[in-house]
């Protein structure tokens, strides 16, 4: 079974700082990749997804992620965070033609005003 690793458990930033969250997965075949965000007290929402094509994908709220196949990575970035980006972020992976998503443990991001 595949596994998903998120390198940082908790990240604390000041507003306007840049954010990068690491995600690595262990599966040798073709995968689809997702980043979900969970704002305090809310359910998970999709930030962005990668299925194929340009490995640099853009999502909502200024987030982007880069798929590097050789490194089995799908890191999430945002050039300048806002206080409203305070949330928990989950990376998720699903092998192509499978239907069970594997989630990382999540990274809590706290943005200080």
């Amino acid at each position: 079974a595949q596994s998903v690793s998120q390198h940082n458990h908790h990240v604390i930033l000041s507003e306007a700082a840049s954010l990068e969250l690491g995600c690595n997965y262990s599966y040798g075949g073709t995968v689809n990749l997702f980043w979900y965000v969970q704002y305090p007290g809310q359910h998970l929402q999709l930030l962005l997804k990668y299925f194929s094509g340009d490995p640099l994908v853009k999502g909502i709220k200024g987030f982007e992620a880069e798929f590097i196949k050789s490194k089995f990575s799908f890191n999430l970035r945002k050039p300048s965070v806002q206080w409203s980006d305070t949330a928990e972020y989950f990376c998720a992976v699903i092998p192509i033609n499978d239907y069970k998503l594997s989630f990382g443990a999540g990274t809590t991001v706290t943005v200080r005003a």
């Binding site: 998970l44 299925f51 239907y99």
Partner: protein
């Protein structure tokens, strides 16, 4: 579209009690899932269903049961509640057609405490 709805939002159970967590989706998705979320552990798949009448176990099925009699509904049953089942439960749905599975849409969650 309401998306994925879950009831109740909160529940406190005593050890040994039973309850059913309700989940309904109105997007005509064929795939539905139940996850539990524990601090620092991400989401763990409990059960999933690929269509009405078809269910299967996920990573952590012990202590739970599911049924899927309609496309819309996917209830999760706890028969004998234990403190280890204290968690936040999320239901999700997605569409799987002839190609790849699309994103999963999540419900608002049920926060369950077993005392």
């Amino acid at each position: 579209n309401a998306g994925v709805t879950q009831t109740p939002k909160f529940r406190i159970l005593k050890i040994g009690q039973s309850m059913t967590l309700q989940c309904t989706q109105d997007m005509n998705h064929n795939y539905m899932y139940w996850y539990r979320q524990d601090p620092g552990m991400g989401l763990k798949l409990i059960y999933y269903s690929v269509g009405a009448g078809i269910t299967d176990k996920g990573e952590v099925p012990n202590g739970y049961n599911v049924s899927r009699s309609t496309t819309e509904d996917f209830p999760l049953r706890l028969e004998l509640a234990a403190p280890s089942q204290t968690s936040v439960y999320f239901c999700a749905s997605s569409f799987f057609g002839t190609g790849e599975i699309d994103e999963q849409f999540f419900g608002p969650g049920t926060r369950l405490t077993v005392l």
